[in-house]
């Protein structure tokens, strides 16, 4: 990986400050992520790891943060960029209940999210099946309501949803909670 090539920078964060109610939550954070690179954010509880992801996924309004931030060379500061950024971003939240409709099946869940990226039902279903196989989700559970699946299986369906549109960047917010070591 040629880190020196600026064109390969996919996430750029420079001097990021996040301020809520006059309290600085994030202070002068800078980092860069290159294509194909995997990085981890480490810190104590409340350090602001999730807040950084929220800035990068356009969840925090620009009035609450300052600094130079770009995701796939687009700034989340411009509202017009949000849709383009989010097309390239996959996200798996810490709590899968924020990502899944428990009353629906894994396949339908994936179809719902896939339709937000403009994918047709058939294509979404095919990709979903491939992802479920890769993530080792038992086939006999694909059409059952999610509430009947185990915690680990739900987590893997949540991951599949994050990957359904083949994103350029995948944000995993503590993704291994509830996954057993065999998986």
């Amino acid at each position: 990986m040629k880190k020196s090539n600026l064109k390969d920078i996919i996430v750029n964060v420079k001097n990021l400050d996040v301020i809520f109610k006059k309290k600085k939550i994030i202070h002068e954070v800078s980092f860069q992520v290159f294509k194909g690179e995997i990085i981890g954010l480490f810190g104590i509880s409340g350090a602001g790891k999730t807040t950084i992801i929220r800035v990068l996924t356009c969840q925090i309004k620009k009035k609450y943060w300052k600094g130079i931030v770009s995701v796939t060379n687009l700034s989340p500061k411009k509202k017009g960029n949000h849709s383009k950024i989010l097309r390239n971003v996959g996200y798996v939240p810490q709590l899968e209940l924020l990502n899944l409709y428990y009353d629906l099946s894994p396949l339908v869940n994936v179809e719902i999210f896939a339709s937000n990226y403009g994918q047709k039902k058939e294509k979404a279903r095919k990709i979903a099946k491939d992802l479920f196989t890769t993530l080792d989700i038992p086939e006999d559970t694909w059409k059952n309501p999610l509430e009947k699946l185990s915690g680990g299986e739900k987590k893997r369906v949540s991951m599949a949803i994050g990957l359904i549109h083949k994103p350029k960047i995948l944000f995993l917010d503590e993704p291994t909670t509830l996954i057993n070591y065999l998986n």
């Binding site: 929220r54 996924t57 356009c58 969840q59 925090i60 849709s83 989010l86 097309r87 971003v89 996200y91 939240p93 209940l97 924020l98 990502n99 899944l100 409709y101 009353d103 629906l104 339908v108 179809e111 719902i112 999210f113 896939a114 339709s115 937000n116 990226y117 403009g118 309501p145």
Partner: protein
């Protein structure tokens, strides 16, 4: 916007929650069945009657003849199988003394609830009929029973109609019934149709508002949806479409159920259904608004109850709208039932065409609530 996928999601979620789905359709049906069955197909009660006829007594009016033939016909009508009345006894009196005794006996039976009503045929009963002059029909009711007073007024139409048929005369009766222009024929479901204009819009508003009032606040993954290229506008729109589709089915169910239980509609059924839909749309929009401003399910449920009570109180049924100051009138007309009830009443009982101003009012109210729901949701802090 990927509305179709979001709409499919909404419908899929509703379909998967079978218990809620059943309730959505069962509640209006149960309410209508209660209204329908409590009234049946005809008058709401069966009354026991006594008749005192003074027709044999001398007639003091200046009539060219002195006839006594029609009181027997009137009594025989009551002796036959009427759906609303049964004859306990009758007194054919020819003297004032006999009349007084009959009157005292009838009063005793009324007090002891042996009879519900006693009818007095005056001395000139047959003469007035024969000479096409208005006939007085006096009936005594226990006035403490307000429901009976109201019902007997309506039920009296049946023996009168039968009597007219038997004697082949129709012109010489003046029926004095309150609100004659809103009259529901005795063979139609009385309670359902007189209560229809208030209860049916209320049922529609209640069920549709309930349908959508949790749709935003209770959907856990909704914030996650916003980390996709989906906009808040698409989410609100998809919820409006999906809930409106369910609402159309609900309105259709209510329409059919009321027809089965004796809907009496002088006007256009098509226009009545359109009014149902417009009221339902208001309910869905108000529910979305409640859902967008609530932070928890409990808040949404409480707000639903508050809104339902406000909608009911501002329906214009408990106060005379015309007598209120303009500001209060404006408040009443900013809620859907202020438009929905007069519209329903006009179409069903008066047979009038749909009032376009009132109908537009309903559409404007629903549009305003959708815009408000969107605006509140737009500025709501939503994070995963």
């Amino acid at each position: 916007m990927n509305i179709s996928g979001l709409v499919r999601k909404e419908l899929g979620r509703l379909r998967s929650d079978k218990r809620t789905l059943i309730l959505l359709f069962a509640i209006p049906l149960i309410l209508i069945i209660i209204f329908g069955l409590t009234s049946g197909g005809g008058p709401s009660e069966f009354f026991r009657a006594a008749i005192i006829t003074k027709d044999d007594m001398d007639c003091f009016d200046n009539f060219p003849s002195n006839s006594t033939e029609y009181d027997n016909v009137f009594v025989s009508v009551f002796q036959d199988n009427l759906t609303s009345f049964g004859l306990e006894t009758y007194y054919n009196v020819s003297t004032e003394f006999a009349y007084n005794n009959a009157y005292i006996e009838c009063e005793r039976m009324l007090k002891n609830e042996i009879i519900d009503v006693f009818i007095l045929l005056p001395e000139n009963f047959s003469e007035t009929i024969e000479n096409d002059v208005n006939t007085d029909l006096i009936y005594f009711i226990d006035a403490s029973n307000l429901q009976a007073v109201k019902s007997i007024n309506v039920s009296m139409l049946e023996p009168i109609a039968q009597f007219k048929l038997r004697i082949g005369k129709t012109a010489n009766f003046t029926m004095i019934i309150p609100y004659l222009e809103f009259e529901v024929p005795f063979w139609e479901s009385q309670v359902l149709n007189y209560a229809f204009a208030l209860t049916i819009p209320l049922i529609i508003i209640g069920t549709t508002m309930n349908l959508s009032c949790l749709s935003i606040v209770s959907e856990g993954p909704l914030p996650r949806m916003l980390i996709t290229p989906t906009s808040k506008r698409s989410i609100i729109l998809s919820k409006l479409i999906a809930n409106s589709l369910i609402m159309i089915l609900q309105a259709g169910e209510i329409f059919v159920a009321t027809a089965i239980f004796g809907l009496y509609c002088l006007g256009s059924l098509y226009e009545l259904f359109l009014v149902f839909l417009a009221i339902g749309l208001c309910g869905v929009s108000m529910g979305l608004f409640i859902s967008s401003i609530s932070k928890t399910d409990q808040q949404a449920n409480q707000l639903y109850l508050v809104f339902f009570i406000i909608v009911l109180l501002f329906s214009g049924q408990f106060v005379s709208v015309g007598n209120l100051p303009p500001s209060m009138q404006a408040i009443i007309y900013s809620f859907p039932l202020g438009h929905g009830i007069p519209l329903t009443l006009d179409i069903t009982l008066k047979g009038l065409p749909m009032n376009f101003a009132l109908f537009s009012g309903l559409l404007i109210i629903s549009a305003v609530y959708v815009v408000l729901a969107y605006s509140f949701y737009l500025f709501k802090k939503v994070e995963v």
